[in-house]
Symmetry: C2
């Protein structure tokens, strides 16, 4: 499952997940359609296909109670899970919410957290049906959401899914909207920026992500079979697709759509943030160009083609006027011509 | 969802859950069959009924890494969720596991944790299909499992469930096995006890709970409609049923089956622990006596009738030779003749 921005997340996360997955071993139940390694698990229940995902927000790691409102934290906690379902092309249904807090938690703050959860649930048609409240160390809660969803089905009953392992050589790579805004918003919250409309728009992108259920459904309807959401940053997430599909990807940096507010507030860093910052929760969609065009035609804002799938070892090459540029850990500041 | 032993859990847990549930409001989606307030949520997915539950184990609150092996912690983390599915009469299917740990977590210990999770998954037919690993404060992980299950269905397709709100005046109250063993095991681990066979059996009850899927299914097949698992202690959990059903319950203390090892290691406290200690993960089953007899006949170890449902305000009266005895917070030590 996607798990937030790795730059502030568990350093060894991916290695540890692989070691633990090896202990669990290959699943033997034929009802498991999608297991470890995609945005959500998919399970056949009778004629239906149930999706399941979980994401956790840790205070000071995934949210900062000093700079985000509790309503915003609640919204985001559910929204990042909704995005996992969107990334599979599904529709979210049922959520369980677990709070781990100190016994002396401020109940009024937790109520505000739930106001945000409710707002997101209403916006995306999710039913919150329970969960757990347990004692932990810190007053600020660690919040875990488990979210179920349902897959669309073809006429023959088979599930229609956006998978990470379905990129094919010759496919085009598209994204569903402008990138870098959430990363810019986080920077504005942390480092300060003039309080103007641009800053407000960026902060909103960071604290109130809007999962692209609409785009996931449009992609499924058009026949797209490969996609995921951008939680860790475009280059890193596209790298996940390359590894899962056994292909290489080329991205034309000049084609990557930049958040307009990002360009106005951080003009120097806009392109770097759009390539590497996380938490925009737009989708990467990968398919033959005509299939993407069909999907795009049904969306309010069109898909933006930014690159292509090519043969080669699994990696992402970012091209600037045809020349490869190196992508560092910290964004555009660290990029050097290759 | 059940959430472990309240004596070591969130003091205000039940009040906080009620306040948060009020903010979420009454669910409007007709696919939600069971929402907040039972052992698991139940959701209609096409012709199927999917159950969902989540439980969290916090270090030093729900497990002690100094006295339990990591394999045991892994087993218990999944088992307490399996018990929630058993308590609804269902069959567990798919699990997602979230670890919140410090970045310098000992990966070898986490692998041992997963060995225990795998053992429990294999014992109960659960597929572990993903999850999340995220940075938190402590090296010992906070572990959250989200578990799905599937409900059995009647010939007409309606789901067959054990509910907390289905106790009726005149029903008999039964349990599926001897009680108090897990509480005795916790005491033996904490306070020391001679290392003999009795102690070993108690400790095993505490660290390796065995959810009663078999009894849940037998109850459903016989037509039982009311039940839950004993996670918080017999009297407290039966109280949950009384409140959900709007009835009163009487328990004959002398009929409550005592764990034989408990009687040998803690003879003085055995009855008190059986009435109030948690984490035995046996089931309470409530139905007319003949229905319980039918269920009992199909089980290897018979059901034990311990009381009855009567009219009155929602509460549990514990009777000793016909006289009510008071039940305190701390077990039998605090009980006084009423």
């Amino acid at each position: 499952m996607a798990s937030g921005d790795p730059s502030i997340d568990h350093p060894g996360e991916f290695g540890l997940i692989e070691r633990l997955a090896a202990i669990i071993g290959a699943p033997s139940d034929e009802r498991l359609v999608v297991g470890i390694g995609d945005d959500a698990a998919v399970w056949r229940a009778g004629e239906s296909y149930v999706m399941a995902t979980t994401d956790t927000l840790v205070p000071r790691v995934h949210y900062d109670p000093d700079i985000a409102t509790w309503e915003d934290v609640g919204w985001k906690t559910l929204a990042v899970n909704v995005s996992d379902i969107a990334a599979m092309g599904g529709t979210p249904t049922l959520a369980l919410v677990t709070l781990v807090t100190a016994p002396d938690v401020d109940m009024a703050l937790m109520e505000r957290l739930y106001v945000g959860i409710r707002a997101c649930a209403e916006a995306y048609g999710v039913t919150v049906a329970g969960g757990d409240v347990v004692s932990g160390g810190a007053p600020s809660p660690t919040i875990t959401v488990a979210l179920l969803g349902e897959a669309l089905r073809a006429d023959d009953g088979t599930p229609l899914l956006l998978r990470r392992n379905a990129a094919r050589v010759g496919d085009a790579v598209a994204v569903t909207g402008a990138l870098g805004g959430a990363g810019g918003g986080l920077r504005a919250l942390r480092n300060g920026a003039p309080h103007d409309a641009g800053r407000s728009a960026l902060v909103q992108r960071h604290v109130r992500p809007m999962p692209r259920l609409d785009a996931g459904h449009a992609a499924i309807a058009a026949g797209v079979e490969c996609g995921m959401d951008i939680s860790d940053g475009l280059v890193q997430d596209l790298g996940h697709i390359c590894r899962a599909s056994g292909v290489s990807a080329e991205v034309d940096a000049g084609l990557v759509p930049l958040d307009p507010s990002l360009v106005s507030v951080y003009p120097e860093d806009a392109r770097g943030l759009a390539l590497t910052a996380g938490e925009d929760y737009e989708l990467i969609l990968i398919a033959p160009g005509d299939v993407l065009a069909t999907a795009s035609a049904t969306l309010e804002s069109p898909l933006i083609v930014i690159g292509r799938i090519v043969e080669g070892a699994p990696r992402v090459r970012v091209l600037d006027a045809g020349r490869e540029i190196a992508i560092g850990q910290g964004g555009w500041d660290h990029l050097k011509p290759g």
